[in-house]
């Protein structure tokens, strides 16, 4: 089965600079849905660029379906779709139709096939009626769907999604995941989601954690939440997981100090940081819904 593999990959931006990634090894198989966690600056974005062949390892190997990315084979761009956090970074067409056609055209897809694929993909993403619409007139959620369409039209084996829903409103976030799950089921896509939103955590089957450029966890999603070091890795336990599994004890919003809210449902003052009016001692309240 096709897979995307990292074999002891190290990466530095220059010979004199410290490595961003050190000895990272993992395998993403088709059909898998994996979350990649880690603090800002832990090397997650560098890893995504290496996976898509946009960067090449300093040492070690990255292979996509057996093709070494150092071969710079255009087949890698077809097989690995990379979706950035900011969709505007990868939208190049003036209209929706032009943008969807850009990738296939550049990889030499048959014009007949392309004419069929563009409306098909647009329709699946709910963009069918916007084919002639200038992309600047689309909302943020629609532009994110268009960027996903620009990736899916290449019929990839793997999707690398870098915080794909962080700039979407909650309605668009829900729509985006519905489409993604349908596409995954149909095409057996292997998907790596970087920094998944807390609310998306329960969709994952496997989780990986980068910490200081090293892969410190690669295993089941359930095992991640039980790992004693998740606090050190900067990972917040989602409320959905806390509810489902009972791991983690009390929420920080309900730390017993009365902070975060009043009995009548209004906001409380406990947990305010030092220096603010009415701030009693106590930890700051955290997130509520995961």
């Amino acid at each position: 089965m096709a897979s995307l593999t990292f074999d002891r990959v190290t990466f530095s931006y220059g010979p004199q600079t410290s490595p961003i990634l050190g000895e990272v090894s993992f395998c993403l198989r088709k059909g898998e849905l994996v979350g990649l966690f880690g603090r800002n600056g832990s090397g997650k974005s560098t890893l995504t660029h290496l996976a898509a062949g946009l960067l090449l390892p300093t040492t070690g190997r990255v292979e996509v379906a057996g093709i070494d990315t150092t071969a710079r084979d255009p087949e890698i761009q077809r097989r690995v779709g990379l979706l950035f956090q900011d969709a505007d970074r990868q939208i190049v067409g003036v209209t929706v139709e032009e943008d969807l056609a850009f990738g296939p055209e550049n990889l030499g897809m048959e014009p007949g096939e392309m004419r069929a694929r563009v409306p098909e993909v647009a329709g699946r993403l709910g963009l069918g009626e916007y084919l002639r619409r200038p992309v600047v007139e689309l909302s943020g959620g629609m532009r994110q769907k268009l960027a996903l369409g620009g990736v899916l039209i290449m019929d990839p084996d793997f999707l690398i999604l870098d915080e794909p829903t962080s700039q979407l409103d909650p309605w668009a976030r829900r729509d985006f995941w519905e489409i993604l799950m349908e596409m995954r089921a149909e095409r057996d896509l292997g998907i790596l989601v970087v920094s998944p939103q807390a609310a998306d955590a329960e969709r994952l089957e496997r989780a990986m954690v980068l910490h200081g450029g090293r892969l410190v966890y690669d295993g089941g999603e359930g095992g991640l939440w039980r790992h004693p070091a998740i606090g050190e890795w900067g990972i917040r336990l989602p409320e959905s997981v806390r509810w489902r599994t009972g791991i983690g004890g009390q929420s920080r919003a309900d730390d017993g100090s009365g902070g975060g809210r009043r009995e009548d449902g209004g906001p409380g003052t406990a947990g305010l940081p030092a220096g603010w009016p009415g701030a009693p001692p106590g930890a700051p309240p955290g997130r509520v819904v995961g």
Partner: protein
């Protein structure tokens, strides 16, 4: 201050985007403005900040028409991209010097303000702001925007792009700020702010919907999924409690739900 909107219609280039809105943002306290992309949330903030004229209606504080001049901080997404001075100290005192405050006073006030944002002056004053972590940069930028202590603080997606730690630190500081100022936050991260919120406005066509309490908002969103897409797990957990519809829903924490389930049994 209590900011009262009276039939306010906000828009751009003469075209209405949101409103007419009639309701109150009582202060001090933190209020959320929620809605789909394109529903006019940012346009509303810009109108309240005086950057855009109201198309009709208006706002008042007490009996006086609201005038934003000198009384508002409006921070758009990623305010740290506007850093332009070499040190955190210079950034945080810039607004005070621009208002003619003597250097010594500006530095004292700036240092005290930085500390309240979790950035002690002895550690951060001389640092280049571009070398701070993501969460520190965001707090330094917002400290610089608010150092002149405006009574109204308007924030557009303040948590965007921060990791969990950065978000938690900023949430704690904003809760503190809301104890002494009126803070209105446009956000898609409703859940993160909900425990701190004194009120919530859902925009998206016409008058919008105002909620004076987080639980009223939760109850409405549970009853009407089109109002706001609550997470599936919370919806399922509340349904599992078999709660009578007139009872306020438990807060969306696993512990609150467990506690509600325990009391029921």
């Amino acid at each position: 201050m209590n900011l009262q909107l009276e039939g306010l219609v906000a828009g751009r280039e003469g075209r209405a985007v949101v409103g007419p809105l009639t309701g109150a943002f009582p202060g001090p306290g933190l209020h959320l403005v929620v809605g789909r992309a394109g529903s006019g949330k940012t346009t509303l903030l810009m109108t309240l900040a005086g950057f855009l004229p109201a198309l009709s209606g208006g706002a008042r504080v007490g009996q006086e028409a609201w005038s934003a001049e000198g009384k508002v901080c409006l921070a758009f997404q990623n305010p740290e991209t506007l850093f332009f001075l070499p040190t955190v100290g210079e950034e945080v005192t810039y607004a005070l010097r621009a208002r003619g405050q003597p250097s010594g006073e500006a530095e004292a006030a700036g240092g005290e303000w930085l500390s309240r944002w979790g950035l002690p002056a002895q550690t951060f004053w001389g640092r280049n702001p571009l070398t701070l972590s993501g969460g520190e940069k965001r707090r330094a930028a917002l400290a610089a925007c608010t150092v002149f202590r405006p009574p109204l603080v308007l924030l557009d997606e303040p948590l965007a792009g921060l990791d969990a730690e950065g978000q938690d630190s900023l949430l704690a500081v904003l809760a503190g700020l809301a104890a002494e100022a009126l803070v209105i936050v446009v956000t898609h991260d409703v859940e993160a702010f909900l425990p701190h919120a004194r009120g919530l406005l859902v925009v998206g066509g016409g008058a919008g919907e105002w909620f004076g309490d987080g639980r009223l908002f939760l109850a409405a969103a549970l009853a009407r999924p089109d109002l706001f897409p609550l997470p599936d797990w919370f919806r399922a957990a509340v349904a599992g409690l078999g709660r009578p519809p007139e009872e306020p829903p438990p807060w969306p924490t696993a512990d609150a739900l467990r506690s509600a389930a325990t009391h029921r049994n």
